[in-house]
Amino acid sequence: DTAVSQTPKYLVTQMGNDKSIKCEQNLGHDTMYWYKQDSKKFLKIMFSYNNKELIINETVPNRFSPKSPDKAHLNLHINSLELGDSAVYFCASSHTHDGGGYTFGSGTRLTVV
């Protein structure tokens, strides 16, 4: 299936731990994104990579570090997790410049306890 796939779907962890979320797309897109959706459903962009190069880096704590080994993968590593990091994290991808809109993954629900 052509899609954006994220793993894991659910992640429950204790404060202070380090965790990673993985994202892969097989759509041939050259741009990938991480969005955070808070408890009120508000979606805010965190990062964007184009062909492995970081192009958007919003005001995000430096505990969050994205990594793109190739243009089909974009992972998100979070250090020293805090309660406020609890949210749903969505990966998405698109073609640059064609304004085609994003294809989203199904999300990773992160709960920090």
Binding site: L43, I45, S94, G99, G101, T103, F104, S106, G107
Partner: protein
């Protein structure tokens, strides 16, 4: 910077009735506009998009939206709502140059009553 306002937090519509979800945007030039739908526990699915040309755009699942530049609006409509349309709907605006960064509205939750 672009921004989006969805003034209705939630709307309840009877099954079979018509639907209109409001979206107002702020952007200096002609924007790219999108509507996405999110079912519970799911990711976001693109319903339709506007870039240029005909201001009335058709999307999937029987939805349509109309771009009105004078009102900075991009309202979503459906003539007859089905129970399966109950979900969260997000309007988004993107810039028409450079790398895309979609800015989303706060969403409207649609409830469908029998």
């Amino acid at each position: 910077a672009q921004s989006v306002t969805q003034p209705d937090i939630h709307i309840t519509v009877s099954e079979g009735a018509s639907l209109e979800l409001r979206c107002n945007y702020s952007y200096g030039a002609t924007p790219y506009l999108f509507w996405y739908v999110q079912s519970p526990g799911q990711g976001l699915q693109l319903l339709l998009k506007y870039f240029s040309g005909d201001t009335l755009v058709q999307g999937i699942k029987g939805f349509e939206a109309e771009f009105k530049r004078s009102q900075s609006s991009f309202n979503l409509r459906k003539p007859s709502v089905h129970w399966s349309d109950a979900a969260e709907y997000f309007c988004a605006v993107g810039q028409n140059t450079g790398f895309q960064k979609l800015v989303f509205g706060t969403g409207t939750r649609l409830l469908v009553s029998p």
